[in-house]
Symmetry: C2
């Protein structure tokens, strides 16, 4: 077993993927993880903004959470409609593209791509936030921890994830279970203490003094940040086709349970935060502790239960980043199939994974994490816009869908989806205005840039398509064999093999040696004895050895020059450059060789033309 295999898994054969369909129970962890894990950072994002209000601010969390839950209910009804209409999977890109045209589709695509990148960044940073809450001395290494987890998740996804069901099942139910136990215990204590429970571990109140008063503007910002708790609810509708028959009904059941669980989590956290008077702590500063950490510690103390809960939070958030790694490359592939993104997003790598998408997602989320220091709170203003814009476009698309389809329930369905579209569109506006200066402008800038990029790519492909289109027949005259140039460093098995291949392709072969001095003289003697004489014995004039001097011991440039010279002096002929390459059986040894061949090929392509071709003759090392 080689190191690649160990790290990335053996190459997978192309066989049918995911033949089994799932039921509603299995659908909850698989498609609900993303939405449910949002409960780990949504309420905290809202509470962080209430810090300046001191203890008085904590009370506002309950009405704000109530309005978020109301919005969530509307979105839920909307998505039930989408599932009915698109049981084969109704992602925002598909729905917007089909019903509102290609521009809306691209807008949704751009919004979703940015959303996925943020899901990864926020998921990981919030997970690390939980970790450093439990282990405060790791707090200075927040960013490094984020990047380590990102690399791990990326590697796992380059391996390709198959049976993910079970991996998702345990931590999701553990997460929900732990939080439910904590919420229930907290409510019980609150009930028995007339609403004023005594915390087991008191939350830190370093900043309990109010420095400003509440304002409508501040509450708008709190609502905007809290809305991040709703990201991920579209997952069921996107992946509906994974459910077994009756598909739509099973998917709707899953969605219902997921939304119900999320509502209980959000409402429970909000009420207990008020009951225990938990203030958010300054994110990124020493002494930071996440709201969930303080909440669980206040209810149950910092014992085993606390550490199990925090571990489940970390795992669930890391897995939610993982779902983005599963979905983002598929989305890119769908867009690239329509030629709005480079073809390479459609090419599968060695593990049947759209590797390009994985790389892009990893790099961009890594950049985001680095620039915002791995602090969730700084990433939040960028988030939510993409998600809510996609909600809006998807729901608006559904309205047009129902109008087109018509039929009995169409008016009612249009009403629900219209309500959803309106509510989420208003939210997009609110978030944009409230969070503009804090970072929403970045998202607002990126989305149109992406749309422009995608249309440019499409236009380029169209132009290239027109340029290479041909109805001309093959013109099979004047097809002389090429002049083959074989760069020769010294006499070896590799050179010998390369020369044989060259002679099999053409009778005009030139060995090309760059160098001077004793080594070159030796090679010339060998060439006469080992190459030209055996050829003469067969009555053939052998390949000659051309020698080029290079005062600074550069090798590649003189070869390129010689080839270009041959090309100029032999018009109408093809010039083939044979690159004899050593191939190691282990990929990690490969980087010890061959760079010269790649540089030579790149330079020839850069300076050459259609009459210069490159032949790679591999020579396999046994070791």
């Amino acid at each position: 077993m080689s190191l690649t295999d160990l790290l990335l898994g053996r190459p997978l054969a192309t066989r049918e993927e995911g033949a089994e369909r799932i039921g509603p129970a299995a659908g909850i962890p698989i498609f609900g993880l993303d939405a449910l894990s949002s409960a780990a950072y949504g309420p905290e994002a809202a509470l962080t903004l209430l810090i300046p209000l001191g203890l008085a601010g904590v009370g506002y969390i309950v009405p704000i959470t109530a309005s978020i839950i109301a919005l969530l209910a509307i979105v839920y009804l909307s998505y039930c409609q989408t599932i009915d209409a698109y049981p084969g999977g109704g992602g925002a890109y598909t729905v917007a593209h089909q019903n509102l045209g290609s521009f809306a589709g691209l807008l949704a695509a751009a919004a979703l791509m940015i959303d996925y990148i943020l899901v990864v960044a926020v998921g990981i940073s919030a997970g690390v936030g939980a970790l450093v809450s439990a282990l405060p001395r790791w707090q200075p290494h927040t960013l490094a921890l984020c990047l380590v987890i990102l690399v791990l998740v990326t590697l796992v996804n380059l391996r390709g994830v198959r049976d993910t069901g079970l991996i998702f099942l345990v931590p999701t139910y553990l997460f929900v279970g732990c939080l439910f136990v904590a919420i229930a215990a907290g409510f019980a204590k609150a009930a028995t203490s007339a609403g004023h429970p005594v915390p087991v571990v008191a939350p830190p109140h370093a900043m309990a003094q109010a420095t400003v008063g509440a304002s409508a503007w501040l509450l708008l910002k709190v609502f905007s940040s809290g809305c991040t708790a709703m990201t991920g609810v579209e997952a069921v509708s996107n992946g509906a086709k994974a459910f077994r028959e009756p598909t739509a009904k099973n998917a709707r059941r899953s969605l219902t349970v997921i939304i119900a669980l999320l509502i209980v989590l959000l409402a429970g956290v909000a009420c207990l935060v008020r009951a225990y008077g938990i203030l958010a702590t300054d994110p990124g500063a020493p002494g930071y502790e996440s709201v969930l950490s303080m909440l669980v510690a206040a209810v149950a103390g910092k014992g085993t239960f606390y550490y199990v809960t925090i571990a489940s939070v970390l795992i669930v958030l890391a897995l939610s980043a993982n779902t983005a790694f599963a979905d983002f490359p598929r989305l890119c592939r769908a867009i690239a199939s329509d030629h709005y993104l480079p073809d390479s997003f459609v090419t599968r790598g060695r593990r049947l994974i759209y590797s390009q998408g994985v790389y892009v997602l990893a790099v961009f989320s890594g950049v985001l994490l680095t620039f915002f220091g791995g602090i969730t709170d700084r990433l939040i203003p960028l988030f939510a816009i993409g998600a809510f814009l996609a909600f809006t476009l998807s729901q608006a698309g559904m309205v047009f869908h129902w109008r087109r389809v018509g039929g009995p329930g169409a008016r009612r369905s249009m009403l629900f989806n219209g309500l959803g579209a309106t509510a989420t569109a208003i939210t997009v506006g609110v978030v944009l205005v409230a969070k503009f200066a804090e970072g929403a402008w970045i998202t607002l800038l990126l989305i149109p840039s992406l749309v422009v990029l995608m249309t440019t790519v499409k236009r380029h492909y169209r132009r290239v398509g027109a340029e290479i289109a041909s109805a001309e027949p093959l013109d099979p005259v004047e097809m002389r064999a090429p002049i083959v140039v074989v760069p020769v460093d010294g006499w070896s098995e590799v050179t010998r093999h390369g020369l044989r291949v060259a002679l099999s392709v053409s009778s005009e072969v030139i060995g090309l040696h760059v160098g001077s001095g004793k080594q070159t003289d030796e090679l010339q003697t060998k060439w006469r004895k080992l190459v030209e004489e055996p050829m003469l014995d067969l009555g053939l004039t052998g390949p000659r050895l051309a020698v080029v001097k290079s005062p600074y011991r550069f090798v590649i440039n003189p070869i390129v020059k010689y080839v270009l010279y041959l090309e100029r002096t032999n018009p109408r002929r093809q010039i083939a450059v044979m690159i004899p390459e050593m191939v190691e059986r282990h990929w990690f040894l490969q980087f010890l060789h061959n760079q010269r061949g790649s540089v030579l090929k790149a330079l020839l392509y850069l300076k050459g033309n259609q009459r210069i071709i490159v032949i790679n003759a591999p020579w396999y090392l046994k070791s």
Copy 2:
């Protein structure tokens, strides 16, 4: 002008480099920058460790600086000897390798490589430290700023730096000039106020209370950290051959001035820190301010002079990172020429730069910066060991050199170099012990790992060399033209060109189409009309079109399978796979195409053998 050209500069022709030699005055900024810039972090590194002693600790900086200056004087005398003996350039790798054998050479090489990586990381982080001292609100973005500067320096070095003299001249003299003015002004104020000058801007004294007493152990650690001020003094001796005749004399003059300037800087800073009672601030925490920043502000206030000085500190430190980018790839090249590192370190890129070395340096220093959060103080314990180990090996090598050479002054020279070797060896030991737990263990682990890696690489090359060695003559029988497989997506100019090239190489050509349905049927019709019929007109049987179905629309795997099948069923024949590639005239468009060709080639190499070759036929797009 293309985007690459703008970013990386046009490809350079291979012409003589750096014909002009420099005099001692030009040598000071070019070779002194590294050593002089150390004054920006060395004293601070020592003072940071004195924080727990409170104001009482500041007094210790003077005797400790005195001992560092004494060590510096010994090293200076040693290096004057090295310059005399190696006027052609006496880097530690060369000197140790030639005089102490290959193992010592590798040890020096490993120490130097790690040292260069740390020069980059520490230079950039200390520069950013200066920046956030002047602009405190950028302090939370320390790491991001470090990484941005790293990327900029990397890009500049991928461009290749030519006339660097002037770029170095201005900021180096500005830096030295500003600090000299500040030191002179400080001394004048101290003299007129009986040693107790009143600071213009009082340094922050948040932690002025002593929490521990002074101990020998603590002072040893302070000395170890302060020794980082000596890094970079070997530059003149390494690059001696750049000086004009009399080379050795000019180089020694430059070194003398550089060391004198450095001593004045270190002594001046130490005395003024005590006079003004400047305490270091907690690095990485909000409110951090560098010692130089506090010093200049105390002497001259935060006016124009302050900002000019801080700007010169930032630039000089960034440039010192830049010198590592110039030296590290050259060192790697020297090691790779002896086959201890992969050949690719010897290959020059498009700008005559050893690009591989630049990448490696950028990646490793980026990783270091990330893991230590861009905080100089956390990097310091790793530093100095590599530099002092290289000093030691180089000086020890010189002792053996003199013993071998003999002659009149040899005994005296041996004495100086022996003194240098002993003093630096003791320092290595002191630094290792004092800083072991804080991070020196990382360096201690890395150096032998690197040595092992390099010997492994060498052994591998030796084995490969033995495997491919050949004295066999070319065996020019049984060289039939290969069977050429041309993957065909549809009929286009690219396909047409590819087929013509294939037919010029062999008469046995097979078009291979992966697909099914209407598109495939159309292609088959076209093939008969556009390929087979024109061939028949010439009395030739045309290349046939093989069609392979692929249920999941994968293209690459079916091609690989087909080629492997051909290879099995045609023993003793070569199979050539023709990859018709579109080449864009602009590199940044290239990524829109061609990935499939690269993946196909990689898979064929992975699963193939010597009888499978790859032919790349470029087709140039006009646009």
